[in-house]
Amino acid sequence: MADQEIALMAHLLRRAGYGASRDEIEAKAAQGYDSVVEELLNPGEDPGIDEDLMYRAYPSYFDKAAIETGQTEWVYRMINNKYQLKEKMSLFWHTILCAGDNKVDNARTTAIQIDKFRDYGMGNFKDMLMMLSTDPAMLYYLDNIESHKTAVNENYGRELLELFSIGVGMDNEFNYTEDDVKACARAFTGWNLAPTIPVFPYGRTPFEFRFDPADHDYGEKTFLGETGNWDGGDIVDIICKQPATARFVARKLYDFFVADEPPVPAWRLSEPRDMAAIKQLEKAYFDSGYEITAMLTVLFNSDFFKDEAVRFAKVKSPADVVIGTMRMVGDHLEPKPGLFFVAMEPKYMGFDLMNPPTVEGWHMGREWINSGSLIDRINFASSMLGDTELPGVKNIINRLMNLGDVPSPEQFLDGCLDLVGPMELAQETRDQLTDHLNAGGALKHSTDSEKGDFSRRAGETLQMIATTSEFQFG
C-alpha cells in the first residue's frame, strides 16, 4: 500500500469522522478514496443501539434525566457509529445551531435535538431550519415560547439570522437590519410548546412543539425586502435563497472540515481564507436546491480538501482529541461501564457537549488551546496511548515488532508516528525523542523480558507523542 494513499485516507477519516484504527485505515485505503467518500455520503439506515446492552451498562440511559447521560450516549455513538460522517454532521450542526441544556433543563429534550441533527444533518438546509424552528429545545433555549403576538420576544428571530443562517455580514456589508430582526421574530410568534405533562408520577417527559394560531401575528411584514403576511415557513424560504446563506453554510463547512475560519461575527469584515473553494460550495448549494450532501460531495472530492497543506493544519476539537484517541486505542467499542468518565473529557477541554458557553457556540481553532485545556488534552491522550493493555495500543506494538529484530531508535520512532498518524514531528521534537530512546538502550524483543521492556518503551513513546504540540493538530 502506498504511503500516500494511507495518509490521504487517514486525513479523510479524521475529518469526515473521528479517525480510525490502523487496520481500518488500511482496509479503506485498499477500497479506494472515491468509493469510501461515496459510502460516507450515502449512509444506510441507522441500525440504532442495542438498547438492552445500553441499559445494562448505563442504568440511567432509561430516561436520560441528566445531561451527562445524554453526553455519554452521544460519545458512545461517536466512537461506534459505523456511519462516521453522518455522526460527525450531528456535531457540526450542534456547534452552529446550538441550544444549551443549562437553560433548557430537560436533558431528554436536548438529546432529542441532537438525534434530529443526525437525521437531518445531510439533508436539505431548508428542512434543517424548519426542523430547528419547531425544535422544542431551541424554542425554549431562545425564548420563542415567550414570544407572543402582543409581546414579541426577539431572541430566536435575531439568532436565527445572526448565528444560524445568514450571518451578520459579508463582503463588508451588513446582511440584514434591525427591522428584519423584528419582522422575523413576529413571523415566529405562536411557535410554541405544548403544555408539559406533570412530572409525577411518571417523571419528566420531553417537550413537544405546538403552533398556537391565536398567538401568531398574521399581519404584514417586510423581511429582507419582501413584503407579505409571512409566517416562519415563509421566513425560512426567504432566508434559504439569500446569497449570504449560501456563503454562511459554505464557510461553516469549510471551517469544520478543511481549515479554520474566524468566528461568524468577524465575517462581515474578513474574507474567506479560500474564496474559490467557498464559491464552489455556494454553487453546489444553489444548484442542488440547498442540499447539504451536494455541498459535502464537492468538498470531499475537491483538491482543496485533499491538499497536503490542510492536513494536520486544524487544531483538533476536544471531540476529535477524545473520540479520535478512543478509536485509535480501541476502547469502549461495546457498552461497558466507565464510559461516563471518557464522556466528561470534552467538557474539561472546553467542549461541554449540549452546553455551549453562549448561543454563539464555541470559538474553535487555536482558541481551543489555553494552558488549562492543553493540560487536559495532554493528560487524557497520553494516558490512553500509554496504556499497553488496550487493544489498539497492543496492535501498534505488534506492528512495531515487525519492523525488525532490533529497530533503531529512528526506525522505532518513525514506526510509532506512522501508526498514530501517519504524522510528522518537527526536527527539534524528533531529536528529543530519539535521544531519549537512545539513552534507553537497544530495542530488542526476542525474549519474554525483552518483549515486556519493548512494550513498555513503546507505551512511553506513544505517550510522549500524545503530549506533543504536533499531536494537537488533526
Binding site: G100, N102, K103, L142, D143, E146, H148, A151, V152, N153, E154, N155, R158, E162, V168, E178, P263, P265, A266, L269, S270, V315, Y348, G350, N355, P357, T358, V359, E360, H363, G365, R366, E367, I369, N370, S371, G372, S373, L374, I375, D376, I378, N379, S382, S383, A426, Q427, E428, T429, Q432, L433, H436, E460, M464, T467, T468, S469, E470, Q472, F473
Partner: protein
C-alpha cells in the same frame, strides 16, 4: 489621586448574558418603573433602600454591608455609543475597547503585558474557568486558565514520581521552540511551557490556604474560591478574571425567579470572597470590578426582558470610595433610546480608566484607546 498601594491586584467578573440593571439597583420612587415593570416589578416592601431614590433587589442583601461601609461603588447608566444588542458583539466591545472595529486584543491582556512586559511570571494573569476569555487575550501574553484548582497539573496520571519527573523533563525539552512550524504551533509550544511552569506553582496554592469561609456550591462560587486561594498564595498574580458561565444573565423569560437566583449567586459569593480575603489579611491590595455587557430593555415582555443598552457595574474593595457614580438613566418617555432602552451616560472605558490609572498605576489611555474621564471611586 493615584493609589499608593503596593502591588495592586485587579479582579474582574463578567456577568455574561446582560444583567437587568433596572432590577438590580432599582429607582423605587420613579413611577415609570412600575409602568415598565408590570410583570417584573419588585414589590416596594422587598426592596432594600440604599438612598432615598435607589434600592437593591432583595437578593443583593449580602452586599448591603459593603455599601454601608462605603466600600461599594455603583456605576449607573454604563454603556457605550450605539450599543450593540448582540451579546457577542457587546461582550467583545467590553473585552477589547473597540466599539467600531473588530478587536482581538483584550484590555486585561494589555494590562498583564504592561505590568509584566517581559512575561517573567506566567501567573501575572489568571483566568478562573475553562477557555480563554477575550478580555485576557493578547498576542504573546500568557494566561493560566484554571477550571478547578484542586486537580490542576500536567501528566498527573503518572503515579511514580521519578517517572513523572523524567516525562515532564522530556516534555519541557520537546516544547522548546521549533523552526518553521507556523504561528499556531509556536503558540501551542509557548502555552505548553507556560502550562508546565504555571501548574507547578499553582499546585501549591491549596496547601497555603486555610479558611472557614463557605462559598455557594455553584460554578461562580468555585471560581471565586479558587481566586481567593491564588490571591492568598502571593504568586505575583495581578489580574484575575472570571465569567458567570453560560450567558446565564440572559433573562428573556421567567425572570422573576431566575434573576433573583442569579443575583443571589453573585451577592453571596462576592460577600464570601471579600470576607475570605479580609480574614486572610489580603484585602488591602485588591479591587474587584463586576459588570455585564449590557442592561435590559426598560419594558418587560411579560415574563422576562429583552436585550437593552445602558446597565450597571460595581467596584468593591477596601480602597473603593463607595457611592453612586453616573446618573440613573431617565425612564421618562422620550428620554429612552430608540427601541425603549436606557440611555447610557457613563462610557465603560471611564471605570476602566479609573481602575487602570488610579488603581493599577498604568497608562489607561493606551489600553482603552483614548481619553475617558476617570470616576473617582478609588
Amino acid at each position: 489621586m493615584v493609589s499608593t498601594v503596593k502591588d495592586p491586584v485587579l479582579a474582574v467578573m463578567s456577568l455574561s448574558g446582560g444583567n437587568d440593571g433596572l432590577n438590580t439597583v432599582i429607582p423605587y420612587n420613579d413611577p415609570n418603573y412600575r409602568d415598565y415593570r408590570k410583570a417584573l416589578g419588585i414589590p416596594e416592601d422587598q426592596i432594600i433602600p440604599i438612598t432615598d431614590q435607589l434600592g437593591f433587589h432583595p437578593a443583593m442583601a449580602p452586599l448591603k454591608k459593603y455599601w454601608d461601609e462605603g466600600k461599594l461603588a455603583i456605576i449607573q447608566g454604563i454603556g457605550y455609543p450605539n450599543g450593540s444588542l448582540s451579546h457577542f458583539r457587546s461582550m467583545d466591545i467590553w473585552a477589547t475597547c473597540e466599539p467600531d472595529e473588530l478587536g482581538t486584543t483584550g484590555w486585561l491582556g494589555s494590562v498583564i503585558q504592561d505590568v509584566d512586559p517581559k512575561g517573567e511570571n506566567v501567573l501575572t494573569g489568571v483566568n478562573f474557568g475553562r477557555g480563554l476569555p477575550r478580555s485576557l487575550a493578547k498576542e504573546g501574553v500568557a494566561v493560566a486558565s484554571v477550571g478547578d484548582l484542586s486537580t490542576y497539573g500536567l501528566l498527573t496520571e503518572l503515579g511514580v514520581e521519578s517517572q513523572r519527573a523524567e516525562a515532564l523533563d522530556l516534555f519541557g525539552r520537546m516544547y522548546a521552540p521549533a523552526i518553521g512550524q507556523g504561528a499556531v504551533d509556536d503558540y501551542i509550544r509557548r502555552t505548553g511551557i507556560e502550562a508546565l511552569q504555571g501548574a507547578d506553582i499553582l499546585s501549591t496554592a491549596p496547601g497555603l490556604y486555610r479558611s472557614e469561609v463557605e462559598y455557594a456550591s455553584t460554578a461562580m462560587g468555585g471560581y471565586l474560591r479558587d481566586m481567593a486561594q491564588v490571591h492568598n498564595a502571593d504568586f505575583g498574580t495581578k489580574v484575575m478574571f472570571t465569567t458567570a458561565p453560560y450567558n446565564i444573565f440572559d433573562t428573556h423569560a421567567n425572570q422573576s425567579v431566575g434573576h433573583a437566583n442569579l443575583l443571589q449567586d453573585v451577592a453571596v459569593n462576592i460577600d464570601a470572597f471579600m470576607t475570605d480575603i479580609r480574614q486572610l489579611g489580603k484585602s488591602d491590595n485588591l479591587t474587584m470590578f463586576f459588570y455585564s455587557e449590557f442592561g435590559r430593555r426598560a419594558m418587560d415582555n411579560g415574563s422576562g426582558t429583552d436585550h437593552g443598552t445602558g446597565g450597571v457595574a460595581f467596584a468593591i474593595g477596601d480602597h473603593v470610595k463607595g457611592g453612586i457614580y453616573g446618573e440613573y438613566p431617565s425612564l421618562e418617555s422620550g428620554k429612552l433610546e430608540d427601541g425603549g432602552n436606557l440611555q447610557h451616560n457613563v462610557d465603560f472605558r471611564s471605570p476602566y480608566t479609573t481602575l487602570l490609572d488610579q488603581w493599577m498605576g498604568l497608562d489607561a489611555k493606551s489600553i482603552v484607546g483614548g481619553n475617558f474621564e476617570a470616576l473617582n471611586f478609588i
